[in-house]
Symmetry: C2
Subunit: 323 residues, 2 copies
């Protein structure tokens, strides 16, 4: 068993796609074996530059990621991509699948693309993303892009596994700024105004600038960049384009290395991981136990009959389980 585990680690370190894919699938399914493997992998992590990319649906994130893959490959860097997908109980699996457009990179052994979907309990997806990033890291991918849809609390959690955060927005949607304000704002290192040939791009840019101007001091002295991209395949008339984005990513990476910023980000990543692992190790077993013993049923009944309130019942449970 021990040597089988070591063999898996070696295979992943050698970039074996099948072994890595199977482990990612096991993570998604929440299999306990996956945890054991992650423990073995963990000490070998920490070399990749992890880039998180988020934004509302339809902002063109996948197209952008596809263009970035091509650009990083031209620089000779190996690339891993995790496309984080919502799951519908109607279909029971990932909807978006491995993003179609990225398929042109499927034949390139320097590129590894996988989708991750929500299957297990709340918070499980973010933990699976963190662990999947570790796997791609150990595979030797120099750049790892985590693409996720949306700008809610869950996306903030997911994106906290990154060193560099890119938030993609598009002009001409009334509530765009309001939507991105939802927690994502504070963690963006680079804003991409995509489809910047549309009406409203200048206004959106001004609004973002105005918002950034409200911030007194940025950690590591990095003021988030705002980059307009008209069309990733045909740089527009903005004097700014995909190359500018790639160069901004490089600048941010250098700033990470040269200042306390990397330490900050590593700390943030680590705190998220600790929090998730504690939820997993402490809360989940208690919930399972309550379910199995039928006590959860009993608690629900008492609440439904208004015999007690959730706070009192939860404290009763806490007294029984906590030392």
């Amino acid at each position: 068993m021990e040597s089988e585990e070591m063999e898996k680690l070696r295979k992943i370190q050698a970039g074996d796609v099948r072994t890595a894919s199977r482990l990612i699938r096991n993570l998604e399914d929440g299999l306990p074996e996956a945890k054991t493997e992650i423990r073995r992998i963990f000490p070998h992590t920490g070399r990749a530059h992890v880039i998180g990319i988020t934004g509302p649906p339809g902002a063109g994130k996948s197209t952008l990621v596809d263009a970035l893959i091509a650009s990083f490959r031209k620089q000779g860097k190996t690339v891993g991509v995790l496309a984080v997908d919502p799951t519908s109980p109607f279909t029971g699996g990932a909807i978006l699948g491995d993003r179609i457009r990225m398929q042109r990179h499927a034949e390139d052994p320097g590129v590894f693309i996988r989708s991750l979907a929500t299957r297990g309990a709340l918070g499980g997806l973010s933990r699976a993303v963190g662990d999947a990033v570790h796997i791609l890291d150990v595979m030797g991918k120099e750049i790892i892009m985590v693409e996720t849809v949306g700008t809610g609390q869950q996306e903030v959690e997911i994106i906290n596994h990154s060193h560099t955060v890119i938030v993609v927005v598009v002009p001409g949607r009334g509530d765009e700024i309001q939507a991105i304000k939802a927690g994502i704002m504070e963690i963006a290192d680079i804003f991409v105004i995509n489809k910047a040939d549309r009406d409203g791009a200048t206004q959106l840019s001004s609004e973002l600038t105005a918002m950034l101007n409200m911030v007194a001091e940025f950690p590591g002295g990095w003021c988030p960049r705002i980059i307009r991209i008209g069309n990733v395949f045909d740089p527009g008339p903005f004097g700014e384009s995909l190359e500018e984005l790639v160069s901004a990513i490089g600048d941010h990476h250098r700033r990470l290395m040269e200042t306390e910023l990397l330490g900050d980000r590593m700390r943030r990543k680590t705190m998220v991981e600790i929090h998730e692992a504690l939820r997993d190790a402490i809360l989940e077993p208690i919930l399972k136990d309550l379910m199995k013993s039928g006590e959860m049923e009993d608690i629900a009944g008492r609440l439904l009959r208004k015999e007690s309130d959730p706070y009192t019942l939860a404290e009763e449970v806490a007294r029984r389980y906590l030392k």
Copy 2:
């Protein structure tokens, strides 16, 4: 103290706006006193019909809620509205504020509108929403609408505090269906296609119908309705309108009462409350303790130096705190 608490309960039961508002504010801020008051309130809850309204930014949810307020008031029903807002750390408070348009109801004593924003820890908002619903319920509001932006996991949690769930979508956004698939789909009782005078409304309706046709059986025999609304203030040429929505809400309420559906929803609401209360009673105190003792710092250091992995460290903590 005891009588002071009773006095507060009586004031809330009498519909006192100041007492209720202060308690909601304390909930948002996560003050421990608020918990004590909720305990006292809890046995008196359970009379209101709670309607959750969600959908992506810009779908016109606030306008719809405003129109629904007017409609329910015409029926002589008292109405409470909780507008759940994302918060930006850039501003430190609710951004959207009490929705502007709804202000026309501000003078009506039969209407109580409050905004709720994320301030505390993860999951805290959903708990605050659940408790705020209890407050409005005890105030005697017959209809309580919970409006929230977005379609992610957090919105699902928030909307789980409702009996009837309305998902608002608009035509002409490529990723609309994909966005609403993210967990919200399974809990929608009514779909509103808003701005249905736009191109793509028929297609959107067909896509929703196709998706619903994939479901073998609906709990309580309630197949989610799809209602097109052109303009809430000027019913359009669709033969469907705000009145149709109001009547669908009434139908759903009757179905709740006549079938096992109400039991299902109450159970769902209750399970969410138990889960949140347990997180609060078990995980939060441990996290605080680890922070205070400086051990969290120590754990983070060991992870950053790769001396151990998150799973192993979390299990160590679990062994120490759990019986």
